[in-house]
Symmetry: C2
Subunit: 145 residues, 2 copies
């Protein structure tokens, strides 16, 4: 039940992008430095993000990435799905023939319900909410001594 680091880093990168894009396109090198991830790895993530219509890119000098939509219109669900592929706990949800006797399998209904819960939670969270919370954390951190 674990998310890949793609999703983990990808969401963080999107938050960073939301916070940084006021002055035009953001370079991966900047995000890489701020998040402590290699630029090469970010390239992979942003390929998926772009392919799923979440970011726009500008090549060449002074290029970079910007959000394809306002952050309020981007949900966590879209980001995670773009990076993770699918949120189904079991493959037989999409492809029923992966389990023989799937028509008579009661557990399949459970996994279907679980998938719905996960999706509805992630759909309820927008990137702008997350970006705002992140900003508050930076400005008013709680120090644990």
């Amino acid at each position: 039940m674990r998310l890949s680091t793609k999703a983990r880093y990808g969401v963080r990168a999107m938050v960073r992008l939301a916070l940084s894009q006021k002055d035009g396109p953001v370079q991966l090198s900047l995000i890489a430095e701020k998040e402590g991830v290699s630029e090469k790895y970010l390239e992979h993530l942003f390929r998926h993000l772009k392919a799923n219509g979440l970011v726009l890119s500008q090549r060449g000098a002074r290029g970079g990435y910007v959000l394809a939509r306002p952050a309020e219109k981007i949900t966590l669900y879209e980001i995670v799905k773009a990076l993770e592929g699918s949120l189904a706990p079991v493959d037989c949800l999409k492809q029923a023939d992966l389990c023989e006797r799937s028509l008579f399998c009661a557990t399949r209904e459970i996994w279907k319900g679980l998938k719905k819960k996960i999706e509805s939670y992630l759909k309820s969270k927008t990137l702008s909410e997350l970006a705002q919370e992140q900003e508050e954390k930076i400005n008013a951190p709680i120090y644990h001594i």
Copy 2:
């Protein structure tokens, strides 16, 4: 975000056990045959199930497994957790130092919320509910021609 086959088969095996244990301990060979899983693989699963106090075992001839508690008192959460280890979407929930700057990471709160959603859903489903639904599926199947 996928469950391992351990969890998938394990839950099915527990349902089968709940349905079959009226006449005493159930042998793995029976479950293996009914569920189309190798007996050797089931041994692994039941080791975890037993270690987590979900089943009791009886060795030797006419031995087998029974539920450690009535099926109404066993939740899906317990079964999945026994087999999967943890339901946390990211490791830094348990071990904060896996991510540097985790104190200032807004996404961590999101994953914490997601974990809660997953757990509360699985806690709301008992093995007896599932076993009953499975029985109904067998008795009144819908045939897709």
